[in-house]
Symmetry: C2
Subunit: 348 residues, 2 copies
């Protein structure tokens, strides 16, 4: 588990390099398989098929993908365009590979920028964890906390301790975690497969629940806060995240449970005015008709719909926790200041 | 499909009888296997392991179970107690087998009562379907309806056209069904496996969705009404039903979508004052850790919780559709009149 990673760059001088190495998340938790992507097309397939996933980790993988392409003589901008198109909802993917591509053509300079994104990710996760845990302590007081989370936002998603999961992990490190309730997160079960795997490896008290059990847990007063990540935060605070997030936000409002979005500033997309402007990826209906492609659930040929994300309106978001601090409603001005400062710092 | 049934009595004079024959719902939709329960213990196991399920169908199966026991010389009251204890939340189960047991010891008289329960069920389903469809037409007008349902409440659950599903089927017969959205209903996937199977066989336009997709569908205005069944309705209208029902009710209120509970009068339990008095069955956590026991989802040994039902407070129930008509809030008096009249009619 100390070796757990989502993405690892294998340089040209290393054995098997150059390659973007991924811990294949479609094989977890049964098998820990490392996949070496030695060309951009293999990496694009891995992104599309969720061998690597989670908005921040997608950014790191794509950043290294640009370096990989440059070493093979492919234009950084062309690689960035190709990789960014694989998953339309996660903004970090496009942001990271275009940030690297903007550096030029020199592989060493590109690699330095990719490394910077990776290191920034890890630092940002630590900062988000601290800010989030402090906010929860201020809100909930000294009592042990029962936190509910959705999907996977830990090391596997972030190349760092995580976003929402990183907050729970920090609460755990602070000795205040009573239990992490882990939504299984159908259809692809990133909660049951990945978050439970990380929580178990770290010794965090946790329990997997069906996604639809959240309402009764909240009604019974068994949830002190809901923590989720984000794939894209619009300028007004509307937040796209894994399907099921919106339902949790509505429930949290109904039961007066704090609902926190935890995401790095790179997830804020000032070019997207509101949630209605976010493209929602519709994935293969077979993800719903089966369990991980291994068992057919619905009858052969049953129609199914599979929106992979939903949009939680800013009015249902209690706070957005970033590496630069916590933002409350109204979001528009505050997000613009945070993300604008970043754009200036990055020279975008 | 014309032969589709949940429960069928095979009399002593018939080949293979006496037996309670069940279409094994744990094998659907892959295999249509009929299981002949020739003794009460086999039937009890079938009830416990959900080979037969759905509150009304459980009642019919248990009613015939009392007859089966009497033919083997077992006291009807002892059989009723045994069968009623297999699933604590569904009130129809206890109601039906105790109603039969109250008749006495004569197998022919018991069988006549069981047959009456079965026939009443089918008639009640038709009446609920009509009442529900009329209510929807009055509420929604002439436009084609997009209805969302949870779990399975059709022929397989009811030994009739169904409760919530029966309403959708009546809307379809009336030419007004645009689409039935079928919640897959984790963990045991009765929606994906059984409701999609019934809807497909009947040619109803439908689509299976992950349970957590309901919020985004409602937010997009794609759900005109939510229809659910019930396992037990307390005297005040609080309703126990499959886990996930409460979340749909909260969402329906938030998005101002009509939320209807459809259940026969036998589901109303005047001895249960409110939802807090309903025992909620906690089932094996492996149902959550796996897909139907066939594929492990969460890591080996991951803690999991598996409440099988939740309780929707009466305040979130838009209307209760029974075979004797539609009841609106406040429920207390109206439910008492409906169920009280039934108790008198049945001589209880």
């Amino acid at each position: 588990m100390t070796d757990l990673f989502a993405v690892r760059w294998v340089g040209p001088a290393e054995r098997g390099g150059p390659a973007v190495a991924l811990l294949d998340q479609t094989a977890l938790p049964d098998r820990e398989e490392v996949r070496y992507c030695r060309d951009v097309d293999t990496l694009a397939e891995a992104i599309r098929s969720l061998r690597v996933r989670g908005a921040p980790a997608l950014g790191v993988a794509a950043a290294w993908g640009v370096v990989l392409g440059a070493l093979a003589g492919t234009s950084p901008r062309a690689v960035a365009d190709l990789l960014a198109s694989q998953r339309p909802t996660a903004v970090n993917l496009a942001w990271a590979c275009h940030r690297v591509a903007a550096i030029g053509e020199d592989p060493e300079a590109l690699a330095a920028e990719a490394r910077r994104i990776e290191e920034d990710n890890a630092e940002a996760c630590h900062a988000m964890g601290r800010h989030g845990a402090d906010l929860l302590a201020a809100t909930l007081g000294d009592r042990p906390q029962r936190l509910l989370t959705h999907c996977n936002t830990g090391m596997l998603a972030c190349q760092g301790i995580g976003t929402a999961f990183g907050v729970a992990r920090t609460v755990f490190a602070d000795g205040r975690l009573a239990q992490l309730l882990v939504d299984e997160t159908r259809p692809l079960l990133q909660g049951a497969r990945l978050t439970a795997y990380e929580a178990g490896a770290l010794g965090m008290p946790h329990a997997v629940v069906a996604d639809s059990a959240a309402a009764s847990l909240m009604a019974a007063g068994e949830v002190d806060a809901v923590l989720v990540g984000a794939d894209r935060i619009a300028a007004n605070g509307d937040t796209a995240n894994k399907i099921g997030t919106l339902g949790l936000a509505v429930l949290a409002q109904h039961y007066r449970v704090p609902f926190l979005v935890v995401a790095p500033v790179s997830t804020i997309d000032l070019d997207t005015p509101g949630g209605g402007d976010i493209e929602i990826e519709e994935r293969d209906p077979d993800e719903v008709r089966t369990a991980l492609g291994l068992v057919r659930l619905a009858p052969e040929g049953s129609p199914a719909r599979n929106p992979a994300f939903d949009v939680t309106p800013a009015a249902l978001v209690g706070a957005i926790v970033t590496e630069r601090g916590v933002v409350d409603a109204p979001y528009t001005g505050a997000l613009s200041r945070l993300a604008g400062a970043q754009a200036v710092a990055a020279g975008n």
